[in-house]
């Protein structure tokens, strides 16, 4: 009987019209007030999650929501100076409910979603936040997929499993990822290294587009991604969620579950775990052989959070094993030419769940200990220690026994201690000061019997920042910040003697040699980098319906180990990549502005930006080398002066209670100013339009149809010409030719079934690439070898308890 009920419920997820009408004439009203002073709060947004219903609180703090349906709802209360609050409620009649908000900036950390606290702290930078309901859609995907919902964010992919977020055209070491207050140290320098974060552990993800959030680090020239696992309320409660997601493309899915126990004395304990398994993905026409993935992640958190002081410890574990498209593993430039010209992968096998070589296996451990204390009338002091251990194996196709031996085996260990003090005694003026110390060690295991891609190194970072925020009047906020970072890298690296001479190091760095082994030198380079970051900006409320933001940020980034030390063959690209010991820090000057206007049923935002990067580090083809394996183009890390100009435009319109549309357009132009040529891997312009239908009275029914139009990137660097031993002539290798424009449609729908108190089942169905369109994406490094993903149907069941 129970099963039958469940079955009916699931079925009805696809047939909303079967729903019986229910009473939706209730109202909810009350006052939004400050928790401490009981002062009325004006301009708080009170909205019903999952519907388009939202109102602002009036001058006396009062609010009123009409047309509510009977049953369970979740209210989201947002006020610019307060932590966002989620309130679960059961509507049974016309109700009065007073909402109390913590109207103190200083309380942000312990009682709120970090996403909004950033918005409060960098008033002037361009920022956007993804909330839980948006993240849940990507439960079986990656955090990089989810982030693409944000305008100005794209991704650099290696197939479907490796998705590196790209902000305003920049990625890798230029994007800082903060996971629950911990800066991820997961070898972000590699193009085929995805962030080691489980999207299911995040409650919200915010993106600061630029380096303005300098309290987290000074080198985020692209931007900062703040992943927040959510706050735990200071109440006696036990709650959790289990979510099962099935994907048609990849024939697998994801299971995630979490449980939290909280007490009103501030204690809490919380745990979360996910498991993902997918087999080979498919394009409309063929199987992408060897593209499966197996991922397991878990985290536990324990602590006590009070207003005056608190502490927490957290441990999280992330393990992924992912197969890399078989056809993308190639031998030499002739193989690459053959792959590009053939138009389809060289290896297509029947579907399998097996993960064969080439593949990656990465494990990330993160442990964190945090303590804070508030000093009455002065401010708040926070101290944090975190430990990270990242182990990466990459398996190539090798001969004999070696096939079971990783070609890359790196162990990166990082310890960080940071502390800051926030002085917030004055209402109008806040100051935050912090210092950070970090030690990092990289150990490349010699058992690979392959020359090390990244050498043994030890790195020290010391940083310090000062941030100030000044509220001139009700309409104008100003913020200013400065940060200094010192980095010391000491490496021990073997150079082939021939490479040492070819690089010209024999004239400049001969004194670094500490051992001569016959064919190789062991070299001990030690480098210091001094970097300064500064930001200044303001936010001005134009009238009661508009905001103008302006921000200038100067940021410097020290070269990463890959840019300094790379030295060897890259199989998936058939190229030799060479770093340079002479690399200097790059310096970015970014100017960004944003104008936002909201009217009765519609609104728009325009965000232009310009980023001038001096000594921009990038890879460029510089020639070819010949080996017994054939010819390989040589790509060297060089520095140039670059310029990125971009524009993000967003608009929305609520046509009626049920119908609304959302529109987004992003474009960025990257230029190498020295060579007067386009920069490689700049995201092509894209235009997204979404039509949403929502009918809360039909079990919170919501459906949307989204169109994504991605233009061909028409500004790409020229192709390279290499002598092909196979063809015995100079041949053009079309590595930079961009794929054609494509248009994809997606459909999503959702229904909610509340049960008892706070318990609810949510079903959703979504179809990506609705028309099974064949396409290739410029920012997918596997575009030379195969088409991108075909249609994917995803069914999701979520149970909140």
């Amino acid at each position: 009987m129970y099963l039958k009920t469940l079955f009916t419920i699931i079925l009805s997820g696809f047939a909303p019209l079967m729903m019986t009408a229910q009473d939706c004439s209730y109202s909810l009203s009350g006052t939004v007030m400050d928790y401490h002073s009981k002062d009325a709060l004006v301009g708080a947004t009170v909205s019903v999650i999952g519907s388009k219903k939202a109102v602002l609180s009036n001058l006396d703090g009062s609010y009123r929501l009409n047309g509510l349906c009977a049953g369970y709802i979740e209210l989201e209360v947002f006020h610019p100076e307060c932590p966002t609050l989620i309130i679960p409620l059961n509507i049974e009649e016309n109700q009065v409910y007073d909402i109390k908000l913590e109207h103190h900036l200083e309380e942000l950390d312990e009682v709120k979603v970090v996403g909004n606290s950033i918005a409060d702290q960098t008033n002037s930078a361009l920022e956007e936040t993804l909330h839980l309901n948006e993240l849940e859609i990507y439960s079986a995907g990656t955090i990089g997929d989810a982030l693409k919902e944000i305008s100005g964010v794209s991704s650099l992919n290696t197939g479907a499993n490796i998705v590196k977020p790209t902000i305003h055209g920049l990625n890798g070491s230029r994007v800082l990822i903060l996971n629950d207050g911990v800066r991820m140290q997961d070898m972000e320098w590699g193009d085929e290294h995805a962030p080691n974060i489980d999207v299911n552990a995040a409650r919200s993800v915010s993106v600061v587009k630029g380096a303005a959030a300098l309290q987290y680090g000074g080198d985020a020239i692209g931007g900062t991604i703040v992943v927040d696992p959510g706050r735990i309320p200071q109440i006696d409660s036990l709650y959790g969620k289990t979510m099962l997601t099935g994907s048609y493309n990849g024939r697998g899915g994801n299971l995630t579950s979490e449980l939290t126990k909280s007490y009103n004395n501030g204690w809490f304990v919380s745990g979360q775990g996910s498991f993902k398994r997918l087999g080979d993905h498919e394009t409309p026409d063929y199987v992408l052989s060897n593209t499966g993935v197996k991922e397991a992640a878990a985290s536990v958190q324990l602590g006590k959070h009070l207003f005056t002081s608190g502490w927490d410890v957290r441990y999280s574990f992330f393990n992924t094993e992912l197969a890399v498209l078989r056809a993308s593993h190639i031998g030499n430039v002739d193989d690459l030419i053959r792959a590009i010209n053939s138009g389809e992968p060289q290896t297509i096998e029947p579907f399998t769940y097996d993960l064969e070589n080439p593949r990656q296996k990465v494990t990330h451990h993160l442990a964190k200990l945090k303590y804070y204390n508030r000093f009455e009338g002065i401010g708040k002091w926070t101290a944090q220690y975190d430990f990270q251990r990242n182990r990466r194996f990459e398996y190539d196709i090798r001969r004999g026994e070696a096939n079971n031996q990783a070609s890359i085996d790196l162990l990166l260990t990082t310890h960080t201690f940071s502390t800051d003090f926030k002085w917030d005694a004055k209402e109008q003026f806040h100051l935050q000061f912090g210092i950070l110390g970090r030690y990092q060690e990289n150990f490349p295991n010699p058992e690979t019997e392959v020359r090390r891609l990244i050498p043994d190194y030890q790195k020290w970072d010391v940083g310090s920042f000062l941030l100030g925020e000044y509220r001139v009047n009700d309409a104008l906020f100003l913020d200013v910040g400065v940060r200094y970072d010192f980095t010391n890298v000491a490496a021990q690296k073997f150079f082939q003697k021939s490479r040492w001479a070819e690089r010209g190091y024999d004239t400049e760095f001969q004194d670094l040699i500490i051992r001569d082994t016959g064919s190789q030198y062991l070299v001990n380079p030690v480098f210091d980098f001094h970097n300064v970051t500064a930001t200044v900006g303001g936010k001005y409320t134009v009238s009661n319906n508009g905001n103008l933001r302006f921000n200038y940020t100067l940021a410097q980034r020290a070269p990463n180990p890959s840019e300094l030390f790379s030295d060897g063959l890259h199989h998936s690209a058939a190229r030799i990549e060479l770093g340079d010991l002479r690399m200097k820090s790059e310096t970015s000057h970014k100017i960004a502005a944003s104008l936002e206007k909201k009217y009765a049923g519609w609104g728009w935002t325009v965000e232009p930006y310009a980023n001038f990067i001096n000594d921009f580090i990038f890879l460029e083809p510089t020639g070819a080398e010949y080996t017994n394996r054939g010819a390989f183009p040589v790509w060297e890390y060089n520095q140039t002066d670059a310029r990125l100009l971009g524009l993000d435009v967003m608009a929305f319109s609520n046509w009626s209670d049920q119908w609304s549309t959302e529109h987004q357009f992003s474009i960025v132009k990257g230029k190498d100013r020295e060579a007067d040529a386009p920069l490689i891997y700049m995201p092509p312009a894209n235009f997204r339009n979404k039509l949403v239908f929502s009918k809360p009275s039909w079990k919170s029914f919501e459906a949307s149809l989204e169109s994504q139009y991605v233009f061909q990137q028409n500004e790409v660097p020229g192709n390279i010409t290499v002598f092909s031993p196979e063809q015995q002539e100079e041949v053009e290798v079309a590595i930079n030719t961009a794929p054609e424009t494509y248009h994809l449609m997606a459909f999503t729908s959702k229904l909610e079934f509340p049960f008892h108190k706070g318990t609810k089942l949510t079903t959703s169905l979504s179809v990506h690439n609705l028309f099974n369109t064949s396409f290739r994406d410029y920012l997918n490094r596997q575009r030379y070898f195969a088409d991108d993903l075909g249609r994917n149907i995803t069914l999701q069941l979520k149970f909140n308890y």
């Binding site: 303590y371 220690y385 001969r399 060690e441 010699p446 090390r452 043994d456 490479r499 063959l569």
Partner: protein, 184 residues
Amino acid sequence: MKTIKLLSLMATAALLITSCSDDDDAGPEEINEEEVITTMHVTLTPQQGDTITLQSQDLDGDGPDAPVITVSGNLAANTTYEGEIELLNETESPAEDITEEVEEEGLDHQFVFVSTGSIATVDYDDVDAGGNPVGLEFILTTGDAGDATLAITLRHEPTKPNDGTLSGAGGETDFAQTFPLIVE
């Protein structure tokens, strides 16, 4: 009180970090690539006349130096040669013979021969466990006097059986070299 306890815990943690760093004074171990094929040695033995050897040697593997190609002499016109390929990794001492590995994994390997000019035919003279050619042994027949080239490519995980062409074999290239020859 609690605060102090926590602080001391943190301080201890910080001490632990700093104290466990510099303990690898010996320096990293040198790696000599195991799998690199530095040298290909081809012996062409005629029924009668001089044995000719072709060699491609690249001692720095994927390093910047190009392979050095040596051909011991000119081939005789209209002659049949028995060819034999030897692969070595000379970064190790003594040099490692990779020929055996290729032979053992014959099912996953195949040489492809592409000739131009005065070489009439190149035919396989060995088989793997599946009865398909590997190419460690082959028969080369020269044509009339003139210039010629012989390109030898070793493919890993090729499509087997295939038509003996590079595109038919597929797979990825483990070795590729072109030898300029004179037939007199």
